[in-house]
């Protein structure tokens, strides 16, 4: 197991805080002379320290997040409103509603009590997460290429690259997340659960709420309703950004 006290993070932190002895400092400075990435790392650490020293801004951000949670009462949000979020979604929603209304009328004549199927619920609620445009240094070539392919909706090749990246670094949470979405987009719903579960089990990170939401949708698509129900129930009682959508889906889900 790695000794954190001797890690690069610790070394840089000690340098920033002037805790290195002259000998250690000399050795480190020599290393820096020939390594641009190391110098960038020190600059990044310094900037992070500055950013997290802005206690007032951090408190304001936290306060705003709490207020957003309290003041927005998405109980009033309906499924219809959530579908009309952008032009693309409006077009998709319009197309879906045509199919859905036509389907519902047919179902009415066949069986008036038929609830919305899991497959239809998936189609109503699922939309891929926005593509990310990234630019970067040569060392991240594969990462950049992967996201470019994702952005271009070339999910098969994006997934191949994401899987290669994850073989090297399974803790790369954004790559895990977009690998999950790429799996959904290529119809591999069962495979998508693995990266989403990895994210859910990784302490706290910015992708946890999203991973929970999409894993619930995967279970819906796989017709494993009990598991989907348990996940949406969990989301609906949390502070997740998806809690109100989860509440709506729970109303429609088949028990």
């Amino acid at each position: 197991m790695k000794n954190i006290e001797n890690s690069l993070v610790a070394l840089i932190d000690r340098k920033i805080n002037n805790e290195l002895n002259p000998d250690e400092l000399r050795k480190l400075d020599k290393l820096f002379e020939n390594d641009d990435h190391l110098r960038d790392d020190v600059a990044l650490h310094q900037e992070i320290d500055e950013a997290i020293s802005e206690t007032n801004v951090l408190e304001l951000r936290q306060n705003l997040n709490n207020i957003h949670e309290q003041t927005q009462n998405p109980e009033r949000k309906t499924l219809v409103r959530s579908l009309f979020r952008s032009k693309l979604h409006r077009i998709a929603a319009a197309a879906f509603f045509l199919v859905f209304i036509f389907g519902s009328i047919s179902l009415y004549f066949m069986n008036g009590d038929e609830p919305v199927s899991n497959d239809n619920l998936f189609r109503i609620y699922y939309q891929p997460d926005a593509a990310l445009l990234i630019r970067g240094q040569a060392e991240n070539k594969m990462l950049i290429e992967g996201f470019q392919k994702y952005e271009n909706r070339d999910y098969t090749n994006a997934l191949a690259l994401f899987n290669k990246l994850l073989a090297q670094d399974p803790d790369n949470i954004p790559v895990q997340f977009y690998a999950g979405i790429s799996n959904i987009e290529t119809g591999k719903y069962r495979n998508a659960l693995k990266p989403f579960n990895h994210i859910i089990n990784d302490d706290q990170n910015l992708y946890q709420d999203k991973a929970m939401w999409y894993s619930g949708l995967c279970y819906l698509k796989l017709n494993e309703t009990d598991k989907a129900f348990a996940i949406f129930k969990n989301i609906s009682t949390s502070n997740s950004a998806y809690k109100y959508k989860a509440k709506n889906i729970l109303k429609s889900i088949r028990n």
Partner: protein, 190 residues
Amino acid sequence: MHYIEESLLEGIRLNDTDTLEYIYKKFYPSIKNFIILNSGTEEDSKDIFQESIIVIYRRLKTQKDFTISCSFKTYMYSISRNLWLKELEKRKTEQAKIKNTEEFESTNCEIQDPVSNPKEERYKLYQNHFLSLSKDCQQVLRLFMDKVSLKEIAKIMGYTSEKYAKKRKYQCKEILVKRIKNDPYYYKSI
């Protein structure tokens, strides 16, 4: 400057929850409509609205004689509009012209300085990741930033030794740095 504008700005400067709640209830819906009308999502609306308040807060902190020459609503809208245009530019959205919502059709407030700079954008990324850390990690890193002694930190956090306090700091810092480096937005911002 009108009394209402003055009191709202003062409330932001003091991070006053009542004022911020009022601002949220009163102005968030129209900003959200505007963002959604221009290819955004609810999450984008939340982000842009909150960032607009942070922009005002930073101005209040750095410019002692900071005033606004229009209504607070128009000022908020102008900042949000600029921030959203910048974001659309980053996303390379092919949008010929941004659409104003009806209520903001003829209103715009002149903003002299850029609404945010690249450094502030990076800070936003770092701070959001910091706020996503466990409470324990946030607190230990804050205590170190505040130059609290190792002995005190160990006592406050209930750690068995000063050595462990230091170890925990490095662990938390490592998690934070890794998450930032793994965030695709980090590569957009450098």
